[in-house]
Amino acid sequence: MASFMSLRDAVAENLKDGDAVAFEGFTHLIPHAAAHEAIRQNRKDLTLIRMTPDIVYDQMVGMGMVRKMIFSYVGNPGVGLLRRVRDAVENNWPQSLEIEEHSHAAMANAYEAGAAGLPCAVFRGYRGAGLAEVNPNIKSIICPFTGEKLAAIPSVRPDVTFIHAQRADKKGNVLIEGIIGIQKEAVLAAKRSVVTVEEVVDEFDEHPNTCILPHWTVSAISTVPGGAHPSYTHGYYDRDNARYIEWDKIAADRDTFLTWMKENVLDADPDAFADRVKDLRTAA
């Protein structure tokens, strides 16, 4: 049953050291504010799960919070590499990083299987792919009707999932629209879930088939306007592409990175996000 609370309390209550955690978002609706709160609360020994780790995972890895990362594409979308992740993988800075790497199809199926309560995902994939040789969690099953060999990987079942969404209603039902990505599955697959929203409204007046998470599937809801920045929220504000391009420079150097993190994350708070999207607001 969704409780409305501050983001600080939501993170404190739901994210523990050692957790397997997904901050999901597929370019759209990336829960930056929630990830920054996790950084401020200095959680350790995390297993980060995400199809497309980007800036916030680069930040958490660079801050030494992460033991392992499960992913399918580790890049700054449209810009290039994630330099903090590279530094961890190539040079163990600030600590070593275990990786479990999949394809998008595999991760999408693994979240789907997690949401569906299954122990594994079954799909046609990884044929001739090198990942099948380096990732022991890629196995296969045989179709009992055709004899076809299909790929199987464990379902993804995070301890806690964080997502950002457009809005909640007063009962705590959560609406996601636009590029909905994998967020619904990531919440349903998780034991606990925290949703930051742009706003809370009395009730929804949407199309009957929109993507809605009923209140009883969500643990906590925090109102954080701009909480996806520099990602975007469809209907609220645009993607701040310049920040993604800029990140490439910030993350290139360890000291520049640490200085930036202190100023923009450690010494900031969730209220800062509303300001950051002021000039990116879209017409409703």
Binding site: V74, P77, G78, R86, A108, H234, L280
Partner: protein, 263 residues
């Protein structure tokens, strides 16, 4: 506008756009594939269906997206579905006619590496990884590849099989139970390549205007085969060039516009 009034990169994008038709359903990657697909849509293939792995189906962006999940892809799409649905119903379901891939490393059989340079467990360089590519390469009916030629990129042996092309050639795909055609076209900044029907080795079938065989060989890490009936790629038409440049200019303004606003 004279024949020399275009860059190799423009020629590459435009040559790639010409390979697409109104009936194609393209799974589009970011960068050159995205530009090529949208030039096709804005010129000879207005009814082409462009799909980005973020879930947008039948999208028609006015500017090129920076990421595969930019808002405009959704705004202009026929519909936007979840990511599991995208990979299950649309890609694995066999509905994609052309999967468009780039490559950090490519071998002569169309196998692609975008994962690591060096050993997987102790990489010299950790690259972003495969994303959708492993299954785009096997579930799309055909795969088109675009990349700029270089000795670092076009190599005799790739460091990691991110996505499977024709393996070691011949019927390697069939042996793995892969029923799709795999890479059927490679378009570089210098030439158009197609796999040999038997060996599946990429063979240059067309040199871009002004490009020599030596230039192609000098930027390719394997011994290049040229078709007997080697052609010259038609230079970009005025419409093609204008379409591409206008698209890039709109894109530049849109992205820098944001930058100024947000700074």
């Amino acid at each position: 506008m004279s024949e020399n009034d275009f860059t190799p990169d423009e020629m590459m994008t435009i040559a790639a756009s010409r390979a697409l038709t109104n009936d194609d359903v393209c799974f589009v990657g970011i960068g050159a594939p995205s530009a090529a697909c949208n030039v096709a849509r804005l010129t000879h293939a207005p009814d082409i269906t462009l799909i980005y792995e973020s879930g947008t189906i039948g999208t028609a962006p006015d500017v090129l997206p920076l990421s595969i999940g930019d808002g405009e892809l959704c705004d202009t799409a026929i519909t936007t579905v979840s990511v599991p649905e995208m990979f299950r119903y649309w890609l694995q379901g066999g509905r994609i006619t052309i999967g468009f891939l780039g490559a950090a490393q490519l071998d002569k059989f169309g196998n692609i590496n975008t994962t690591v340079i060096g050993d997987y467990h102790h990489p010299k360089t950790r690259l972003p990884g495969g994303g959708g590519a492993p299954e785009i390469a096997t579930s799309s009916q055909q795969v088109y590849i675009t990349m700029k030629q270089s000795l670092r990129g076009m190599v005799d042996k790739i460091d990691f099989f991110t996505s499977f092309g024709h393996g070691d050639g011949g019927d390697a795909r069939r042996k793995l139970g892969i029923e799709t055609a795999g890479p059927t076209l490679l378009i570089t900044d210098l030439a158009v390549w197609k796999p040999d029907p038997e060996t599946k080795e990429f063979t240059v079938v067309s040199l871009h205007p002004g490009v020599t065989r030596d230039e192609v060989q000098a930027t390719c890490g394997w011994t290049v085969k040229f078709a007997d009936d080697l052609e010259v790629t038609p230079a970009p038409t005025e419409l093609e060039l204008k379409t591409l440049r206008d698209l890039r200019e709109r894109t530049r303004i849109a992205h820098s516009g944001k930058k100024e606003k947000a700074a």
